[in-house]
């Protein structure tokens, strides 16, 4: 089992730990997952996400290479810009979702922890001569600082370096003498950023941020993976392995917007055929009554209880105060307002197709 540099810190803090993507991670702290979620939405949450992978691509042909491998338009990205992208296979299935940071002389790509090895293998096997693909994961520590007061906190430790940054841009900033890459990006639907810095500085920077929050009276708390999941879920963001996966294509999951059909990319032909024929199922949001829907729960027709689909994820949502699921259903049942049911412990519970996202991300307000 792998551990992050803050592993002992989490345990000393009383965190409940569990394996995730091969890492022993904090699921929640004594604060509790519900309150941790609420703290992030009202002030600042710190997330140890060092399990994530970072790949740096540089050298001859790197821009063309990245463009050919991911679904999103990236050739127009200038240094300092950051963008969401999908890594697809030839059949149009989602191998991973990525965040791509265009740097001065390279492409900095954040990959999911569980797919790091597979993504690197995929990239390396397709890389032309002269291209450099570096796995920066082990030497790089990654944390997220998210919430309506996150930028205020980060400004306080960086000499005001982040409030001037637009969403979806990055810059090199300095915190307590440590130079780091700051991206005004995130996975919670709140403002804030993600920080990349030398791994040995993890405890120092983490504790510095908490101390600065206390000093300035900005409520700041460590947030575990359970709250990370409910935050991203409310904000309509996918978790690979659930709403997107190697058996799900972007069209049925609602990610056509992340596919640039004006360029060539792996999976383009397959997706064009799917767009032409229409997807065979669609990802919808379900508001469920009478229980907590979870991944794998069957979605049933409300009239006769016939199974029509399945939940990709489901949970209690602390901000919108709903029991909700993301589920794949036939396109004709995907309209907002459609009445369905979800089977929870062998009993059908009423479910209504609702508009996604449940909670509008800050960058869309």
């Amino acid at each position: 089992m792998n551990v992050t540099g803050l592993h002992d810190w989490h345990i000393a803090r009383g965190a409940k730990m569990a394996p995730f993507a091969g890492y022993d991670m904090p699921i929640s702290y004594p604060t509790g997952a519900v309150e941790e979620h609420l703290i992030c939405r009202r002030s600042v949450g710190l997330f140890d996400i060092d399990h994530m992978g970072q790949v740096e691509i540089s050298g001859k042909g790197s821009s063309e290479f990245v463009s050919s491998l991911v679904s999103s338009r990236v050739s127009d990205m200038i240094a300092g810009e950051a963008r969401y992208a999908l890594l697809l296979d030839e059949s149009g299935f989602v191998l991973d979702d990525l965040f791509i940071y265009r740097l001065q002389n390279s492409w900095w790509i954040v990959v999911n922890a569980s797919n790091r090895e597979a993504d690197l293998e995929w990239m390396r096997s397709r890389a032309p001569q002269g291209l450099v693909i570096d796995d920066r994961s082990d030497e790089t520590y990654m944390i997220a600082v998210q919430g309506p007061r996150a930028i205020e906190l980060m400004d306080a430790v960086s000499g005001g370096a982040v409030s001037k940054l637009e969403r979806f841009t990055s810059a090199r900033i300095e915190v307590a003498g440590v130079e780091l890459l700051f991206g005004r990006t995130g996975y919670t639907g709140e403002d804030g950023g993600e920080l990349f810095f030398p791994a040995r500085k993890a405890v120092e920077l983490w504790e510095l941020l908490l101390a600065k929050g206390t000093e300035l009276g900005i409520e700041t708390a460590p947030i575990g993976l359970a709250a990370r999941d409910s935050l991203r879920f409310e904000a309509g963001m996918p978790l690979h392995g659930h709403e997107i996966s190697p058996s799900i294509n972007p069209i049925e999951a609602g990610f056509k917007w992340a596919c640039d059909f004006t360029k060539d990319f792996v999976g383009k032909k397959a997706l064009e055929a799917i767009v032409e024929a229409g997807p065979r199922r669609k990802l919808v949001g379900l508001d469920v009554t009478g229980g907590v829907p979870r991944e794998g729960c069957a979605v049933l027709a409300s009239t006769d209880g016939v199974p029509v689909g399945v939940c990709a994820a489901g949970m209690y949502c602390p901000t919108v105060k709903k029991y909700a699921a993301n589920a794949f259903v036939p396109p004709e049942l995907a309209k907002v307002g459609t009445a369905l049911a979800v089977s929870i412990r062998d009993k059908p519970r009423p479910a209504l197709v609702v508009k996604r996202p449940l909670y509008l991300p800050a960058y869309r307000r």
Binding site: S28, A33, V34, G291, V292, M315, R345
Partner: protein
Amino acid sequence: MKIDPNCRYRSSHEYARKDGAEIVVGISDHAQESLGDIVFVELAEVGKTVAQGDAIGVVESVKAASDIYAPVSGTVVAVNGELEGDPALLNKDPYGKGWLVRIAPSNLPEWEGLLDPATYEKEAAKE
């Protein structure tokens, strides 16, 4: 962990406390702490006859669902209606406002056979 000295306990962490002619049933402080934030509670209906050990409900925490078992046989005479709107009561006050059901016992000696507070505390501490 908080132990209510007036309760007796099952190894599966339910408590049973005598209150007049009825038994108040809930989950222990150790249980609520292990489960984490409770987000939904499903309980048997009033009038249901249960045998000791029968499932009488489900407690859903953020990441998992746990079955609740009747500590004694009898009839369910009341369920805690507050839990629908505030399942967190189980975390905040498991022995008080977070009670789950009240049972009219059909075999009161069963209560004596449950774990006494000291024994339960020792067992739970080992987990």
